[in-house]
């Protein structure tokens, strides 16, 4: 187990290192003198000096990387020459929004997917299962950039239940905050429900065939007890694995949702920085987002191996 953990950790570090190299090299994709291009209309000798210090552009490539990484480990991800805002400052605004979106959408997805899968698996191929399986299959073909506008059209434009865009912080009260987060979360949850439902249903049906379930039935235990205590637990591994799979989709979806609903999360700020050619902000944000993505994926993977010894042996 220890060896396994160590080898996974080495993998994680190697991938994070490669991401940092990749993010670092981005600046060199720019045509011409990178410092001039990055500064653009903000070019002044003073600004150039700041930039050279941040990126070490006047040194060799390896030394440049060293300078850049050292700055990052000191919490200095650079600052925008357009807005004067530091990347770390922007992130501290953005990250809570992303976290709230992800938590609310995943809670919603699980609240819908688990009961649906339980009902469907109990009587496979009957009416409920067919309806649920077909509708999740249809949801598979509704990417966020399609589902989001549809939700806005129905709930914000036609029914006027919630505002179409904008974000209210939690400090402005729970009600207004939830009102601005609920529609984006539903848009995000659609993809997750499909993944959770399909995997959990298949796993539940397989588990229900096991001998220990027949045994529990013959002992006269109630269906509800068997489902929750005997069947849900071994099947929750696939749920966790599904969470790992859906992170990529969630990431993509979150970017689209933030632009659609004008929520100032990482995706929104990143896209704004790309529009504005704010290269240092793009670089810093991309680095943080990519590392976060890899670390979360790794965490889920790791949790899975701890909980389910079968994965480790395989």
């Amino acid at each position: 187990m220890l060896r396994f953990t160590a080898s996974r950790l080495v993998q994680l570090v190697v991938i994070c290192f490669l991401i940092s190299v990749f993010a670092f090299l981005l600046v060199h994709l720019l045509p011409g003198n990178p410092a001039r291009t990055i500064l653009g209309p903000n070019y002044t000798p003073a600004n150039e000096a700041v930039l050279l210090k941040q990126l070490g552009l006047n040194k060799g490539l390896v030394a440049q990387y060293g300078t850049w990484v050292t700055n990052i480990f000191h919490g200095n991800l650079g600052a925008s020459f357009l807005t004067k805002q530091t990347v770390t400052g922007a992130l501290s605004v953005a990250v809570p929004i992303d976290l709230e979106l992800i938590v609310v959408s995943q809670v919603l997805a699980l609240l819908v997917a688990i009961p649906m899968a339980l009902f469907a698996a109990l009587r496979p191929n009957r009416a409920f299962d067919r309806v649920a399986t077909t509708s999740t299959f249809a949801m598979l073909s509704l990417p966020t950039f399609v589902a989001g506008p549809l939700l806005v059209l129905v709930f914000a434009v036609t029914l006027k239940w919630v505002p179409a865009t904008g974000f209210n912080r939690l400090s402005q009260g729970l009600g207004p905050n939830l009102k601005s987060v609920i529609l984006p979360s539903v848009a995000l949850a659609i993809g997750s429900v499909t993944v959770y439902y399909r995997l959990l249903r298949a796993d539940l049906i397989a588990t229900l065939q096991e001998d220990f379930v027949t045994m529990a039935r013959s002992k006269g235990l109630s269906t509800r007890y068997i489902l929750l205590r005997h069947v849900m637990r071994p099947s929750s591994f696939s749920l966790l694995a599904a969470a790992g799979i859906s992170i990529g989709t969630l990431f993509t979806g979150a970017f689209v949702v933030e632009i659609l609903f004008q929520l100032p999360g990482i995706g929104f700020q990143l896209v704004q920085a790309i529009y504005a050619n704010d290269y240092l902000v793009v670089q810093g944000m991309a680095l943080v987002a990519a590392v976060a993505f890899v670390v979360v994926n790794f965490g889920i993977d790791f949790l899975l191996t701890i909980l389910d010894p079968r994965v480790r042996r395989a």
């Binding site: 299959f137 689209v256 993977d301």
Partner: protein, 315 residues
């Protein structure tokens, strides 16, 4: 047997799900005759599959023939018909600038379809060739390719493409295709490698080796036909994923820009500046197009999977 196929067990990771490894036996002599089996087994692929396939082909034809079809130019602004609903003159109506929506959707689908299919086909060739070899001969090359595919898959695709675009301007169809191929190849490599691995140690391969078959024959005549179903089924899902990725990029305004609008751009137009209130059709038609296209692709992949007894495994 120094270079014999070994039964290397797959390290399991929930990062990517794919289809690999048939459960049912498709080895032996029958495995060499997939062509005859394709039509006779279980009475064919079924009506749904062929309806979906014809739909996808129809969409591709529409996009390919867009410039000779009797439709209006996608960027022509008809100021006498701004934001009109579906009429005989404009079958799907017009947008807020008086542009014909039918024509915009058909021309817009070109980008989606090219980015959907081209990188996956390229990925099938690159990843398929590497996967077949790596799955058959495990050795240092296999280890390296495997590690590279793991690293490439660890990157969040949309983020990587967005950021590369930001620094590597201007965006072009070729650049997008190249970047998408980079994303697709390692995925297809893993699927094909895993499938090859599950066949490489089977008796019919051993039998062919025993009769003195050359490696090229083993790969192309024994292994390839068995790998094709999983590869095609997964490639269809890959096309769907690529279309969603391109659509997301276009929605964010980061796909190919003006004057070539793609479907994601049109949806974004339909959401901006009160258009959803004034004329929901702008966003609805391209959404419907994407929905139907993805449904057809998913249904086809699903049907192939159950037809060939492919099971979903974590790669």
């Amino acid at each position: 047997m120094p270079d014999g196929p070994s039964t290397v067990t797959e390290t399991s990771s929930p990062l990517a799900t794919g289809i690999a490894g048939p459960v049912g036996g498709r080895g032996g002599v029958a495995a060499r005759l997939p062509a005859s089996g394709l039509l006779s087994r279980k009475g064919g692929l079924g009506l749904t599959f062929w309806i979906c396939a014809s739909w996808v082909v129809f969409m591709i034809l529409l996009a390919a023939l867009a410039s000779v079809l009797p439709i209006k130019a996608p960027n022509f602004q008809d100021y006498s018909a701004v934001n009109v609903g579906p009429t005989a003159h404009h079958l799907l109506g017009t947008d807020d600038l008086g542009r014909d929506l039918l024509s915009r959707v058909i021309f817009g689908s070109r980008v989606s379809l090219i980015i959907g299919f081209a990188p996956i086909l390229a990925g099938l060739v690159i990843g398929g060739f590497a996967g077949l070899l790596a799955g058959y001969r495990s050795g240092p090359a296999d280890t390296v390719l495997n590690a590279v595919s793991f690293v490439l898959l660890a990157f969040p695709a949309l983020l990587a493409i967005m950021v590369i675009e930001a620094f590597w301007k201007p965006v072009s169809l070729l650049k997008l295709t190249v970047m998408f191929t980079f994303v697709a190849s390692p995925l297809l490599f893993r699927v094909i490698r895993a499938t090859t691995l599950s066949f490489a140690s089977r008796e019919f391969v051993l039998a062919a080796r025993a009769t003195g078959a050359k490696t090229s024959r083993l790969l192309l005549r024994e292994l390839l036909p068995n790998v094709v179903p999983a590869a095609v089924s997964f490639a269809l899902i890959g096309v769907a994923i690529a279309i969603v990725l391109e659509g997301s990029l276009a929605f964010l305004g980061l796909s190919i820009g003006l004057p070539t609008s793609s479907l994601g751009n049109i949806i974004n137009d339909g959401v901006n500046s009160n258009n959803l209130q004034l004329n929901p059709f702008i966003a609805l038609w391209p959404s419907l197009y994407i929905f139907l296209l993805l449904t057809a692709l998913n249904l086809m992949a699903d049907r192939l999977r159950s037809y060939f007894d492919l099971r979903e495994v974590t790669l």
